[in-house]
Every structure is written in C-alpha cells, then in structure tokens.
C-alpha cells in the first residue's frame, strides 16, 4: 500500500495520459501511422529503461542492448506463431517468457563479460550484438519460420495501446521501486566507485549481473511488444545502430534518471519520425544528416544530458 501511496502522483499523471491517448486513439482521431509511432515511443521507453538500469545506474557500458531487444522480439514472434496466439491476454505469458529468455541470455553472457570494464566491456557487448545479428541472419537454417536474412514475416498484430501502456507503467513502477530499494543503492554505489563498493561488503559481481539481466529482460519485453506492433522483423533492425539509439536516449535523458529516459524516448522517436513528416520527400535523405549534427551540438551544449542533475 505504501508503494502505491508513494507513487500516487505518478499514477495519477499516467492515468491522465492514458485517458488522453485513449481519446486520441479512439475514432482514429490521429492517423494510424502516428498511433504506431506513439506506441513505438512507449516501447522504446521500456527497452531504454533497461539500458538505463545497466548503464545509467550501474555504470556497465553496454553496446549490445539491441541484441537482447532482438532476442525478445524473435522469441515472442516465434512462440506466438507456433501457439497461434492472437489475443492480448493469451499474449501476456509470451511477453513474460520473451523477457525472461532475454534476461537469461543476458545472465549467461554477463557471467564472463561483466568482469571487463569500460571500453573493453563496450567492445565485448558490441561483439555479442554482432554475434546475435549473424545468428539471426542465419536463423532460417535452424527454423525455416524465422526467415533468416529475408526477415520474419506474418506476425500477428497484438500490441495495442492498453497492453503497451500498462506494461510500460508496470515496468516503470517496478524499476522505480528497485532503484529506490537497498539494491538500487548498491547499483549506484558500484557505478560511483566499484572498489569502494566491494570494500563496503557489496557482492559487486552478483549485483552487476542482476542489474544486467534485469536490463536485458526489459529489452526483451520491449522487443516482444515491437515484434507484434510492426508484424515484421528483420535482423538489420537489431544491429549496432539500434543499440546506439538506446544509448543516445539514455544519455539525452541523463544517466540514472527514469523520468529523463521517458522524455528522451518520446523526444528521440518524435524527432526521427517528426523529421520524416516535416521534411519534404526529396529532402528526406537529409534526415540522417541533420540528426547527427543535432546530436553533436547537444553533446557539446550539455554533455551530461538534458535531464541530468549535474
């Protein structure tokens, strides 16, 4: 009960947002395309929140987040297809399992590589990301349905506003609770000084591993929702560029800020898709010329991110 009281303000605001979105979504007041982008922004929030737990709170620099996002997406699409799942409620266990699969793989890969630090960890996770990409590219050798480099087609469209919004709400609440618990304190302690954390009696390797698998699990859940939103998966959606997307969101939002991650996800997706709407068709190629310039300018102006406390 105390938990709900403490998050009262947050809950009230989110229900207001939900009702607003519901009104906008009903009667197709906003176009289907914008609806899809809105849901996508919420999904990005879930996955980016996972990276924020890994990087923002625990200080473990991961460049392979998209791999776990992809693992979640493929697991969920595969399970939903072989069990013929179409409905939202029967999809919930699949969502959970996808998250758990991504989390378990994160755990297994985390055991060896989380001993590494900084750039070496970045390179190792980058390597893992590429490995997953190669695996997905060849996945049709293991199961024809996965499609390999042709992409996974014919996924049922299950993701809707309620599912996405309440999953995100639930995950934000859980993450918030985790961060403000004793374990959350351990995480920040490891980020600030790992050696000091060890000498204070924190089992750093176990704690890092737990944070890493939790973050990967969130990526998996995000991926599962993504798979059933766009109904088409391609290995190229889960490569290094996507991992960098998540990283950019965490940095823009400010490391270790849940609110920042939420705003930054919406801002980032809004910017990428917004430029698509604003720029005329013949200028569309300019989008990826403008975005890096904005990014560099932002990094120079606010190197700690927009919402960071420093």
């Amino acid at each position: 009960m105390r938990f709900f009281l403490e998050s009262r303000k947050f809950l009230i605001i989110s229900f207001a947002v939900y009702i607003l979105l519901k009104i906008l979504f009903a009667n197709n007041f906003i176009s289907a395309y914008i609806q899809q982008i809105t849901l996508f922004a919420i999904i990005m929030t879930i996955a980016a929140l996972g990276l924020n737990v890994i990087y923002g709170y625990t200080g473990q620099f991961s460049l392979g987040h998209a791999a776990f996002y992809g693992i979640g997406a493929y697991t969920s699409a595969y399970l939903a297809k072989i069990f013929g799942i179409e409905g939202v409620f029967s999809f919930l266990p699949v969502l959970l399992i996808s998250g758990i699969v991504a989390g378990c793989i994160g755990y297994l890969i985390g055991i060896p590589i989380l001993r590494l630090r900084d750039d070496f960890l970045a390179i190792a996770t980058l390597g893992f990301g590429t490995l997953v990409r190669v695996f997905l590219d060849n996945s049709d050798r293991f199961a024809e349905m996965l499609g390999g480099s042709r992409g996974f087609v014919g996924i049922s469209k299950i993701t809707n506003l309620e599912l996405t919004f309440f999953s995100a709400l639930f995950i934000v609440l859980i993450t918030k609770n985790l961060i403000y618990s004793r374990y959350g304190l351990f995480l920040r302690c490891i980020r600030d000084d790992e050696l000091a954390a060890t000498s204070a009696g924190i089992n750093t390797s176990k704690t890092k591993l737990m944070a890493f698998s939790y973050g990967c699990m969130l990526a998996g859940v995000g991926g599962a929702l993504y798979a059933h939103l766009y109904t088409f998966l391609h290995p190229s959606n889960f490569d290094i560029l996507k991992s960098i997307d998540f990283l950019i969101i965490v940095i823009i939002g400010g490391m270790g800020s849940i609110r920042g991650t939420i705003y930054a996800s919406i801002l980032w997706v809004g910017l990428i898709e917004g430029l698509r709407i604003v720029l005329p068709v013949e200028m569309l190629d300019l989008r990826w010329v403008v975005i890096p310039v904005l990014l560099i300018a932002l990094m120079m102006w606010k190197p700690y991110g927009l919402m960071a406390k420093k």
């Binding site: 390179i123 490995l131 695996f135 290094i240 010329v289 890096p292 990014l295 560099i296």
Partner: protein, 296 residues
C-alpha cells in the same frame, strides 16, 4: 598438392585483407592510445579515402601515385578537422559524450555522402587504375595488386614504427598515451600531439581505403562500418595502444576471415571473429602484447 596450393592462395588473400585491417587498426590504436576514445568515425575515414580516390581517378584521371598522395593528405585533413571540430570541445566532458559524438560524426559522414546529389547509397564500381597481371608460381598465383598492397603496407607500417619508436614526436605520443597530465607537465603540447596522431591515423585509414578499393572494386558509403569494427577488434587483439600489436591483430583477423569463408561458411565469418574477440577479452583482456592492466 592441390589443397596445399589452395591453402597458400587463401593465405595470400588473407594477408591482403589483413594488410588493410592493419592499416586501419593502426589509426585506431594510436587514437585510442592518446585519447582513450573508440573513434567510431575511423571506419568512415577509411571509406572517405576510397571515395576520394574514386573521385580523383574518374573525374581527373590522375596517375596513381598522385591519387595516393592527395587522398592521404585529404583524409589526414579530414581527421584533423574532425578532431578539432567535434572532439576537442569535449575533451573534459564525460567519455560517453565523446563516444556519442564519434557515432554522430560517423553517421554524418555516411549519410552526407549517401545523399543523391553526391555519391548515392548504391554500390559504385571502383575504377581499375592499372591492368591486373598474375604471376604464376608452382602452386599458386599472385597478382600485381596483391604485391602492391603488401609492399605499400609494409613500407607504411615500417615508417609508422620508426615514427612512433624512433622520433621525438613518437616519444611524445607514447608519453601522452601513458599519462596525459604528466606529459603536459613535461612540456609536451598535448593538443598538438593529439592532432598529429589524428592526422597520421586518418591518412593511414585513407591509404587503407584506396588499397581496399583497388583490391575489392566495389565501394559503398557504408563500407567502413564492418572493417572499422573489425580493425578495432584487431587492435584489441594485439593489445590496444601498441603499434605492432595492431598490425599482428589485423593480419590475424584478415587470415581468419578468409579461412572461415573458404573452409567453413562465409555467412559465419563475422560471427566467428566476434567469438574470438569474446574469448580474447575473457582470457587475456589486455591482448597479445598487452601488459597486465590492474584489475580489468
């Protein structure tokens, strides 16, 4: 005997690819040494080199030695400008902002060149600057392209080795990579050394770009991504910040890639390289020539 010939030929192919990786890895390792930055834009400078050479050959029909000189000068300049414009203002910012900026520069270069008004995102055929000749030996053949690549690579690697280990600049570079603050107390101009490192690294990447274009005559604005990452792996493999480590790593990666494609399957070659990377990082994180880093 046929198998032996095949193996020798694949080894030559592997060395050819490895030579290009070694040239890029040198720049990576030098920049990482002085700035502790994974310069994601380095692979794109390699791409830029190939495109400048393409432009010079097709538009001006320049003789090949001019192409080499002008391309290396221009990629060196590009490296200098990137450092001055994008990285220098962030010298004291958190490292992650610098990394994001590097990614930003990389994306900018790729997508700016892929604009339809410039080079378009399609594959472009790299013009042959000279006729290919093959020299047959008892069991294998070598082309003049391969000989050119080997000789240019070995000369430049030797020059870089002399530069880093035998000159005043090289000593300053090593000092900066060892400890920036103490080096500046010893009267080394840090900014100058960093710029110099970027110029040398970028011209080597540009050189790699031309050689790659001559050897594999299909160029694309996104072609720098994978070689860039693999060269960085090569640098890590040899021990980051160490010149001969980067060279050895480059050749190892090149050979592995070619052998996996030839004997196992070309689809798994990237996967295998990354498995090796993970193993190296887990077993010996400091790389082949690396000294033991305190508690990695």
């Amino acid at each position: 005997m046929e198998l032996l010939g095949y193996i020798i030929e694949q080894t030559i192919n592997g060395l050819q690819l490895g030579a290009v990786y070694a040239l890029i890895a040198l720049g990576y390792t030098m920049v990482y040494g002085v700035l502790r930055l994974i310069n994601f834009a380095h692979g794109d400078i390699f791409m830029l080199g190939a495109f400048i050479a393409y432009f010079l050959i097709t538009k001006f029909g320049m003789p090949i030695y001019f192409v080499f000189i002008i391309t290396m000068l221009s990629t060196g300049l590009a490296g200098y400008l990137i450092e001055k414009i994008a990285y220098k203002p962030l010298r004291h910012a958190p490292k992650i902002s610098l990394l994001i900026t590097a990614v930003g520069v990389s994306l900018f270069l790729e997508y700016f060149l892929s604009l339809n008004a410039l080079f378009t995102p399609n594959y472009i055929g790299f013009p042959r600057p000279f006729e290919i000749e093959s020299y047959n030996f008892a069991m294998f053949t070598v082309t003049n392209v391969q000989l050119l690549i080997f000789s240019i690579t070995f000369i430049s690697l030797f020059l870089v080795y002399l530069l880093v280990y035998r000159t005043k600049y090289g000593r300053a570079m090593r000092a900066v990579s060892y400890d920036q603050e103490v080096a500046s107390l010893m009267g080394i101009g840090i900014d100058g050394i960093i710029s110099f490192t970027f110029i040398v690294g970028a011209s080597l990447a540009g050189l790699g770009g031309i050689l790659y274009g001559i050897a594999y005559p299909q160029i694309n604005v996104f072609m720098g991504i994978m070689p860039g990452i693999k060269s960085f792996i090569a640098a890590v493999l040899g021990g980051i910040g160490i010149v001969h480590g980067a060279v050895l790593g480059g050749f190892i990666i090149g050979l592995l890639e070619v052998f996996v494609s030839a004997f196992i399957s070309s689809t798994f070659r990237d996967g295998l390289i990354f498995i090796i990377l993970l193993l190296v990082l887990i077993l010996k994180p400091s790389g082949i020539f690396g000294k033991r880093i305190e508690k990695v």
